[in-house]
Symmetry: C2
Subunit: 349 residues, 2 copies
């Protein structure tokens, strides 16, 4: 029997903080999703709030209400929100305790480890999966250079910033490539990728810094040797110049990505969560040049269009395409057929 | 009474793997150094092997021999070598056990934690200091942006690669600036900086990736608020395009370094430890441009001259200076007076 889960999105469902929830609703998901918990949207359909598409997944006020109203018994309770620095908000704690005492396994992607919380871990008799629990140096792999002999080419989905749609685009691109007869695999680098059932990857941001490149290489080597795919997509993290934690060069310098799909939010002026700082997002043209100097190439730009209507985002896409001479796509509006075609052309023509 | 230490450099003293040993011999050091252990050079003076300068610090064959021959009793035994991935070689284990059972406190900067080794930790009744013991997420700080209000300007000493003299140049520059009446402080980012007695910093490579920028910011904020220095020097790590672990953008994007001193090894063709890979060191001119795009500026180039004679390195310095239009210095041959003058001119003229 497939495992069934409730997702906690307490009060944050309609924000970028709930990107784990959004990813699981869009699918795929390791668990069958029975419902989302968020008092702000209780009684509505979760899909409608996400993107207007009914998905027959209700939003509940609380774990207690969900347990009362769902006909199938959930087995897991997934924390579906991220928080700055990964702490545990009080509203979440209350619901986690309710889920734990109802016998659900807790699945948590915050830096805050539930297994270290005496109250929660005592209640969670069915178990805790702390996805971001750091592994020790002795369990981690240093980079070796073996990646240079991997024949499956890598394509990285990087972004100008956090929470800008990198994983979503990569997941959609995997599906589109497969539909075109290309065997595409994807390396996850965040907890959501694992929750979506991806087999190869690691949690980038809770890895000891010295081993990030080695763990990335290890995941790619395992994927290549088990699946021998035509292409391996890499889920990027953060942005090359994100002051809160610049990242991305690992995908180019260590994983030797042949090309990059660059995720961009045209109306975002500042780095996510730092709108109050005198620290604006740098221009797209500089990012393209930076990626070239690091040793790869931007093959296409993919837009995060939240807050824009269809006409606006379509016009911006056209303008950017003319300006940069690269395909510019809107994955959620138009799909990623054009991205898949670009990847095919670059790699196989 | 000052603490006295023996340094273990077993068989590696004359290599870049012993850069911790080299740093402690050059000074400053948290401990008075009584001797170095390396059977390959036993009986010689450690300073002579380092750079030809007698320092009255003997090299011993073993801990046992050192304990027999030193008149002052050592209190600490410091692991003075780094190893790829940070494992513990057998030769070191034997000497560490000898030091532990003689009642010395073990000080270790490897990823391999001595406190996790049952045999060693049982013997080490005087204690173990594992410098690279990772801290938990709950003990770490996320980046906040408070750095933007720090008035002491930052200057980063970055490098084209690992083991290329970044820390040495930064330490010398601190001394030179102070001699010119500039209050200069330095943030350490590796275990050697701590061993040299620096007060502010953290161990970059054993920090969970998500918190590297925050810990760097925290160290700078603490230094600025306690010392209010004219300038804060930042010890860089790795290189921007080192495939085994690219790093450096944190110092520019997160720590907002106003300028960069770029450490360069003119005759090194490949990244350290990866000479066998088809992965050459990129050209200096690209690195300078990369640093500009990341948001800072190379102010001067500093040479790692190992393997070159005086005439060769002097000629290379001249050529590079003409080519890049930047001051190019040889810190160990000529001192860093010119670097100090450049920093003064850029910041205070």
């Amino acid at each position: 029997m497939r495992e069934c889960a409730l997702i906690l999105a307490n009060g944050l469902f309609d924000s970028v903080f709930a990107k784990t929830t959004h990813g699981l609703l869009r699918g795929p998901s390791r668990y069958t999703i029975l419902g989302v918990i968020d008092p702000n949207h209780a009684g509505q359909d979760a899909g409608r709030i996400l993107d207007g598409q009914h998905r027959d997944i209700p939003v509940f006020h609380s774990i207690a209400e969900a347990l009362r109203l769902t006909s199938v018994r959930p087995t897991h309770c997934v924390v579906g929100v991220a928080t700055v620095g990964g702490a545990l908000p009080d509203a979440l704690r209350t619901e986690l305790l309710a889920a734990a005492s109802a016998g659900l396994t807790l699945v948590n992607g915050l830096h805050y480890l539930l297994s270290d919380d005496p109250e929660i871990s005592e209640q969670a008799t069915a178990g805790i999966i702390d996805l971001r629990k750091p592994r020790r140096a002795s369990e981690l792999t240093f980079w070796t250079g073996e990646i240079l002999s991997v024949r499956s080419p890598r394509v990285a989905v990087l972004g100008m910033d956090c929470a800008i749609g990198k994983r979503t685009t990569a997941m959609l691109l995997r599906t589109a490539l497969r539909a075109q007869g290309i065997s595409a695999e994807m390396i996850y680098t965040g907890q959501t990728g694992w929750l979506q059932g991806l087999r190869h990857g690691f949690i980038f941001d809770s890895t000891l810094n010295d081993f990030v490149s080695g763990e990335l290489e290890r995941a790619i080597l395992a994927c290549a040797s088990e699946m021998n795919p035509d292409v391996i997509l890499l889920e990027g993290q953060s942005g090359l110049r994100n002051p809160a934690g610049p990242a991305g060069s690992e995908f180019i310098c260590s994983a030797r990505a042949a090309g990059v799909i660059l995720q961009h939010a045209p109306t975002r002026s500042h780095f996510e969560d730092f709108e109050y700082l005198a620290c604006p997002l740098p221009p797209l043209s500089e990012e393209i040049e930076l990626i070239r100097l690091l040793g790869s190439q931007v093959w296409a730009i993919s837009l995060f269009t939240r807050g824009l209507d269809d006409t606006q985002s379509s016009q911006i896409a056209e303008e950017l395409e003319a300006c940069h001479g690269l395909p510019v796509v809107r994955p959620l509006e138009d799909g990623v057929g054009r991205l898949a075609a670009t990847v095919r052309e670059k790699l196989f023509s």
